[in-house]
């Protein structure tokens, strides 16, 4: 994900099928749903916190209350166009699957808040840059459009209809407008080459029932195809960017940046499971790096960065390059202004997504390069505070070095700043010289780092940092009240009410009158397993969900009258901002650790002593004061999130009606006993239920699979149990 690519939601949807090793009854369904939890995360990880401080000049993005009309698409029309387009050599069925996924997936990108919907200026700017690289015949093509994505990762992707998506994380660190243009031209090339559709259709074979458990050769073949298409997109991208007048030499800067990330990931063990496995095997044989490296290269969907750089160098050297190529064509000042905003936005996203260490790392780097920006100091302090809050042991660990495989527990990153800023050009731009001096190390641990930046914040009078400092010292009453009083005495502060209540120890008592208990209801996923692969029935879900939800409303009004059902899809159209606030509140109560995923949080909330599924008691409002405001404004007592998956193994259909087969009758008693023990061997449905209750300060995560066909009654019963069980645990 760190390289430029056509990586998009549908590609990911395919990847999930790798986990589906067997049919539903024999396999832990959690593995199957693991991908879908990524989808949930995908929906969640899209909310912004609001501007913390007016003094800080934080112009953070705010979601519009309603989705602007230009971001609402005609799904059926899009589906019809894509499904009717002939692709030679592929079955109509597969094209329809592709069309279904793309048309619904595209709309989801906007309604889920994954894409910026109210940052017109930056979106216009990106489109101007793209337009500059387009050939004249395509300049007025309305299909081709760049959208800005709320994701801190270094990535961009294209989808089948010419919509390009550019991550804010990449924009924040791209070297200049030329670098930006090269990425956009690369993605546009994927659209021109029809790579998205072809790659999807070619990849389907990998996940058929027959191949999914033994598909290494197919995966290698597909990865090879993907690498070829990436190389083609590179070539065309360079040509387009150069024709647009940009200096493609800066493409190398992009690649170098990706290499930095790649190296960082290697250093911090954030590798794929496959590579780690290979590494474990090869370690015994003594040729660790060679095998793991070669396997990683073979499985990679992108060409090796060294090859890409050498290819670009060759192209630069061989082509008769016209003179007058530029770094900036559209507007240099605008680029710089937007990039500065983007950096703050990236930190905001990381903090809100609870990726504290990444936030610490990036805000620290941004601070080193620009120590005058108060935003970076604020985010640095706040992310350290939150990281230490959820993992108190971190306090005495070496600052940022704990992310690396080989590190001294007590030694901070200041000893080896090159680990996080390997680029010597960037390193030379560090402005806070005190921190480069290895003879006189300013701080070693997270605690010392907090103290160091706390002093800077106090010197600079950054008001919002006072609350951060007060919360950091929450165990020390005198320090806490000292900083809180100081904070409350300021005029332009974001959390005045919160601070006052915290000072008076009335955070929870002030919410005692709250009586709303809301359940956020996500769309039902109908997943089918066919001989040709997995099929997420999005159209079916759209048709069936309303009747299921109506029944659910009736059930909750009867058994849980105090609970209020809110459909997320409906809420996103009515008030996207509220929806995002709710979703993020839920995410913060339940975020969990993952060693193999980039999209999940760094932090673990599970208490190993407790039963699985139960989370330890913690103070949500201490983690993030903005949630106190959310609960107060919306009079919330409890907030829950509900997601249901229905699974149907269609490949079992023939077995169940194969009455002419003597074996069917011979095994009928065995199969009946099996049904008593394991339920249906064809159907299953799963309920995920997250909840947080302020009265008990407990969050709970309920996840159960019922091995029966999801009829409405069984759907209701599963939810009934989820709510009841949750109530019991919370109480």
């Amino acid at each position: 994900m760190t390289k430029i690519g056509k990586i998009s939601f549908h590609i990911n949807l395919n990847n999930q099928t790798c986990n589906l090793k067997n049919y539903i009854c024999k396999v832990n369904i959690f593995k199957i749903m693991r991908y879908y939890t990524l989808w949930i995360a995908f929906f969640f990880l899209t909310v912004s916190e609001y501007a913390f401080s007016q003094k800080l000049n934080l112009k953070c993005y705010q979601f519009p209350d309603t989705i602007p009309g230009k971001y609402i698409f005609d799904i059926k029309k899009g589906y019809d166009i894509t499904s009717n387009a002939l692709v030679e050599g592929y079955k109509k069925r597969d094209i329809k699957r592709f069309a279904e996924m793309e048309s619904y997936g595209k709309q989801e990108l906007f309604t889920s808040g994954y894409t910026y919907l109210a940052w017109d200026q930056l979106e216009t700017y990106l489109n101007k840059v793209l337009n500059q690289t387009l050939p004249d015949s395509l300049k007025d093509n309305t299909c081709v459009h760049v959208y800005l994505v709320r994701d801190a990762e270094y990535n961009a992707f294209a989808i089948h209809d010419g919509s390009l998506f550019f991550n804010i994380g990449l924009f924040a660190d791209v070297v200049n407008e030329a670098g930006l243009a090269i990425v956009l031209a690369h993605e546009f090339s994927h659209y021109i080459n029809n790579d998205v559709k072809t790659s999807y259709l070619k990849g389907l074979k990998i996940y058929t029932k027959k191949n999914r458990n033994d598909n290494t050769s197919l995966l290698l073949k597909h990865a090879k195809y993907d690498r070829a298409s990436e190389s083609r997109a590179d070539s065309l991208g360079f040509v387009l960017a150069e024709n647009g007048g940009y200096d493609i030499f800066y493409g190398i800067s992009n690649f170098m940046q990706f290499r930095e990330i790649e190296n960082f990931e290697k250093e911090t063990q954030r590798k794929s499971h496959l590579v780690n496995m290979a590494k474990n095997d090869s370690t015994e044989k003594g040729n660790d790096s060679t095998i793991s490296k070669s396997l990683e290269d073979l499985m990679s969907t992108h060409p090796d960065l060294s090859n890409r750089i050498s290819f670009l160098n060759k192209y630069i050297n061989s082509a008769k390059r016209r003179s007058g190529k530029q770094e900036f064509i559209i507007d240099k000042d605008e680029f710089s202004r937007f990039q500065e905003l983007a950096k703050t936005e990236v930190l905001n996203i990381l903090l809100t997504e609870n990726k504290f260490k990444e936030c610490i790392k990036r805000s620290f780097i941004y601070y080193l390069l620009n120590p005058d920006n108060e935003n970076y100091i604020y985010y640095l302090l706040e992310s350290i505070r939150r990281a230490v809050y959820v993992d108190s042991k971190l306090k005495n660990h070496g600052f940022l070095t704990d992310m690396f495989k080989k590190h001294d527990d007590k030694q901070g990153i200041l000893h080896k700043l090159k680990l996080i800023i390997p680029d010597s050009v960037k390193f030379s731009k560090i402005k806070d010289i005190n921190l480069i001096d290895t003879a006189n190390i300013a701080f070693e641990t997270y605690d010392e780092a907090f103290l160091y930046f706390q002093n800077i914040a106090l010197k600079k009078n950054i008001n919002e940092c006072l609350l951060t400092i007060a919360l950091y010292y929450s165990e020390n009453d005198s320090l806490k009240s000292k900083y809180l009083k100081e904070y409350c005495s300021k005029d332009s502060i974001k959390f005045k009410d919160y601070a006052n209540n915290l000072l008076n120890n009335s955070l929870y008592s002030s919410l005692s009158q709250n009586n709303r208990e809301i359940i956020l209801l996500d769309n039902i996923s109908f997943i089918e397993d066919h001989f040709y692969g997995y099929h997420d029935r999005l159209i079916l879900a759209e048709q069936k969900s309303p009747s299921y939800f109506n029944e659910l409303r009736k059930m909750t009004s009867k058994y849980f009258p105090e609970k209020e059902i809110i459909e997320l899809s409906e809420l996103s159209l009515r008030s996207l901002r509220t929806k995002m606030e709710y979703e993020y509140a839920i995410l913060s109560t339940t975020f969990i650790n993952s060693n193999d995923g980039d999209t999940k949080s760094d932090v673990i909330y599970f208490d190993s002593d407790e039963k699985p599924g139960k989370l330890k008691e913690f103070d949500l409002f201490k983690l993030n004061p903005s949630y106190w405001k959310l609960f107060k404004n919306n009079k919330l007592k409890a907030i829950s999130y509900l997601k249901v998956y229905s699974f149907d193994d269609k490949t079992k259909l023939m077995k169940s009606i194969n009455v002419i087969n003597p074996y069917f009758w011979y095994t009928i008693i065995y199969r009946f006993c099996d049904a008593i023990n394991n339920g249906s061997d064809r159907y299953a449905h799963r309920v995920l239920y997250y909840s947080y209750d302020i009265s008990s300060k407990k969050s709970n995560f309920y996840s159960e699979t019922t091995r029966y066909k999801m009829s409405k009654a069984y759907f209701l019963n599963s939810i009934y149990y989820a709510i009841k069980t949750n109530e019991k645990i919370i109480k």
Binding site: N678, E704, T706, K724
Partner: protein, 236 residues
Amino acid sequence: MKKIIILVLMLILTIKTHGQIGFLGKRNVISTDIFNTFFQKKYNLNYNFCIGKGLMLKAAYSLHRYSNTIFLTKENNYYTGNNEVADVSLRGHSWELGFDFGNFLQTNMPMPIGYFMGIAFEHFSGTLNENRTYNNLYAPPTEKKYIFNNKANIFKLIYGRNSYIKYNFIIKTSVDIGMYLGSVIENDPANSEECPLMVLPLSNPKVFRIKYNSNYDKMKKVTFYVMPNISLGYIF
């Protein structure tokens, strides 16, 4: 019997119920067997009570009103035309106690819905009336009447599934594998010379003869049977 009841009570008391019990919180089921009502004239009322997510207590009462006419041809002689016809009617009642088990831990479907396996004990007592008519082409028909008191203990193993239909109605489809054990047929002293016919409460309409000892006391025969069940129930 007392020991059985004590054991049942002890079992109920020792069961720890975690979380909620029943389907949508509904733990009671009343049901009636449609299949046997139609084929056996066995009017049945079942009551089930969930005492755990995967455990259900069952109690049932049935009225047996079975009657049938059976041709029992003694001699297959075309010229004499000898045959014997028996009008059999069974009047009786039975009570039943048992447990149904579902695997909640695996399937996550709480009783009373879902696949289950059950054990049950049924005690039947009733009267068997036989009207036998002997026909012969060359003689007027002769009639004989027999009255037997019939008692039976039945142990059953049940495999089935309860499925929710709508509006709290459920349908139960199951197969009973029964062991008809230690049945007692007391002969009427007035007809002591004749062989009684036996009608199993849950048997198919064919009547078959049971061997018995010369003193007409306890039958030591064990009979196995398989009987389908289709019940309509209401949960509350």
